[in-house]
């Protein structure tokens, strides 16, 4: 049979990775979105200051939960030999890693968008007004913390996946990653609740900055830590 000779260079795999992550993580995406809707409804009639210091603080939990599809695809592709195939055709480990992180961020951004639309929509529909506290909580904490938490948990989960054999439960990256991602957010929730009100923004913005720095450090180390042999199927 006549076969085609080599044609165009490999195209970007990000769109298809993103789509597959949405399919594989649809349950978590739905859960993250649904929880944000429920919280928005529950806080609909709260005072503006309560809404501003409660709803944005919990958004990172939903975003990290909703982003799990990226890690599911990464873990599955490694076990099933998809990475082995990609590497043999010249795709670099850093590209594979980057696609996984970007896919998780896409999922987290979707949950964030749903949460913001639902939360703010319900808040304003219930007579709430825009306040500086609300804008700061969302802009300086909820969005950066959600994205940093997603990158941190996804990256750590990928490292975990690339070091281990496929397992289920808490030994699997899918068991560990959400805990890594939501842990800092829960810590912030507890600390912000018990600390003096004057320290609220220091705590939240500081936590987002620290987690962001940790996530960026993990991303920067990916080229050295995620070598080809770590992406091979253990089967």
């Amino acid at each position: 049979m006549a076969l085609a000779r080599r044609g165009a260079p490999p195209g970007s795999l990000l769109p298809i990775t993103l789509r597959r992550s949405f399919v594989a993580g649809r349950i978590y995406l739905a859960m993250g979105s649904a929880f944000s809707l429920l919280l928005a409804v529950a806080l609909a009639r709260a005072r503006p200051i309560v809404f501003a210091t409660t709803f944005p603080l919990e958004m990172p939990l939903f975003a990290v939960l909703g982003s799990l599809g990226g890690l599911i695809i990464f873990s599955g592709d490694r076990a099933k030999g998809v990475f082995e195939y990609l590497l043999a055709y010249g795709v670099r480990p850093t590209t594979i890693f980057g696609n996984g992180v970007l896919a998780a961020l896409g999922l987290a951004a979707t949950v964030l968008a749903v949460a913001l639309a639902a939360g703010l929509g319900t808040y304003f529909a219930s007579g709430g007004t825009p306040t500086a506290d609300l804008a700061k909580s969302i802009g300086l904490y909820a969005v950066p913390m959600s994205l940093a938490g997603t990158v941190f948990s996804t990256t750590a989960g990928m490292y975990w996946a690339s070091l281990s054999s496929p397992r289920s439960g808490f030994n699997s990256p899918l068991g560990v990653a959400p805990l890594l991602g939501v842990g800092p957010t829960v810590l912030v929730l507890v600390t912000a609740e018990t600390a003096p009100a004057a320290d609220f923004y220091w705590i939240t913005v500081g936590a987002a900055a620290i987690l962001g720095a940790a996530a960026l450090t993990l991303v920067a180390a990916s080229g050295r830590l995620l070598r080809s042999e770590r992406l091979l199927s253990p089967l």
């Binding site: 085609a4 165009a8 082995e84 195939y85 990609l86 590497l87 055709y89 010249g90 042999e229 199927s233």
Partner: protein
């Protein structure tokens, strides 16, 4: 002192795949420990060896996935792992490498995109491999044989010079396995195919050359025809039971005789006939490839 000559396959040229003192493994361990061979003639080279001998590691190293910790692998003089080498290779892993969450045609477009092949090739390959009826099925809905067929389809999306096929027929029913073997046989008319298998009968059926690995080294490299079994076992099937065969070991319906070689067969048959044994069939029972595993 000069470098010792490599075990050579017939023919030389730009297709030449050459491993010299290759050492490779995982996380610092050695799986391949001084593998040397050279080949270039279009044919199927069956790669054999017991589990852990290094077959998959050899394929991964030639594919440029694993970096050698010693020695070298070159294709037409260019080190493997270099883009110029990688675009001359097709690699089919022993795991199917099928991405979840896609339909069959989407998966093949995914492969085409990775390889830089045209989308038009996807339609042609689906037709050629009889997977057009499955095109809208999710991969997770397919049987093992159907998934393998999709997995194999990707090496037909584009013509390349060297095909690395790691156990392409494992866990398949005989019909699908035979179909895949036919496709590979077609390829080998013009291409170099390295084909690993645990099925010695399959290996004997399709391979022209054998590259046997044992404990990370080449234990035999040459034409299959040059392999001679250390034991020559003849199976005799009779028309009816005979007391003269009492005590002769059996495998299924065959009485087994271990002989010095094929030249001893006529004498054995004459002896059996003189004892009144009515021979219905005589066939060679051993496979010389088995000796490569001992």
């Amino acid at each position: 002192m000069g470098t010792p000559p490599l075990p050579e396959g017939p023919g030389e040229g730009s297709l030449q795949l050459r491993c010299r003192d290759l050492v490779a493994g995982y996380y610092g361990s050695k799986v391949l420990d001084g593998v040397s061979f050279s080949l270039s003639e279009p044919a199927i080279y069956v790669v054999l060896g017991p589990n852990g001998a290094g077959k998959t590691t050899l394929f991964r190293t030639i594919a440029g996935i694993l970096e050698p910790s010693g020695g070298s692998v070159t294709l037409g003089g260019v080190p493997v792992g270099d883009p110029a080498s990688q675009e001359r290779l097709h690699f089919l892993s022993h795991v199917d490498g099928i991405p979840d969450g896609l339909r069959v045609d989407e998966a093949l477009r995914f492969y085409a995109r990775v390889q830089g092949a045209d989308d038009d090739e996807v339609e042609r390959v689906m037709e050629r491999l009889a997977i057009l009826p499955l095109r809208h099925s999710f991969l997770s809905q397919l049987s093992a044989g159907q998934r393998k067929r999709v997995s194999v389809a990707r090496i037909f999306l584009q013509e390349r010079d060297i095909y690395l096929l790691d156990e392409p027929t494992s866990n398949l029913d005989p019909k699908v396995a035979a179909e895949i073997r036919d496709l590979v046989l077609g390829l080998a008319r013009e291409k170099v195919v390295l084909y690993s298998s645990h099925n010695l009968y399959e290996a004997r059926e399709i391979g022209r050359h054998v590259l046997a690995l044992k404990q990370g080294r080449v234990s035999f490299f040459g034409p299959i025809g040059e392999l001679r079994s250390e034991r020559y076992v003849l199976g005799i099937r009779t028309l009816r039971p005979s007391d003269a065969l009492a005590g002769v070991p059996k495998r299924g319906e065959y009485y087994l005789y271990e002989l010095p070689g094929p030249e001893s067969v006529p004498a054995l048959l004459r002896d059996l006939e003189s004892k009144g044994v009515q021979v219905r069939e005589a066939r060679e029972m051993g496979n010389p490839l088995e000796d490569l595993f001992t």
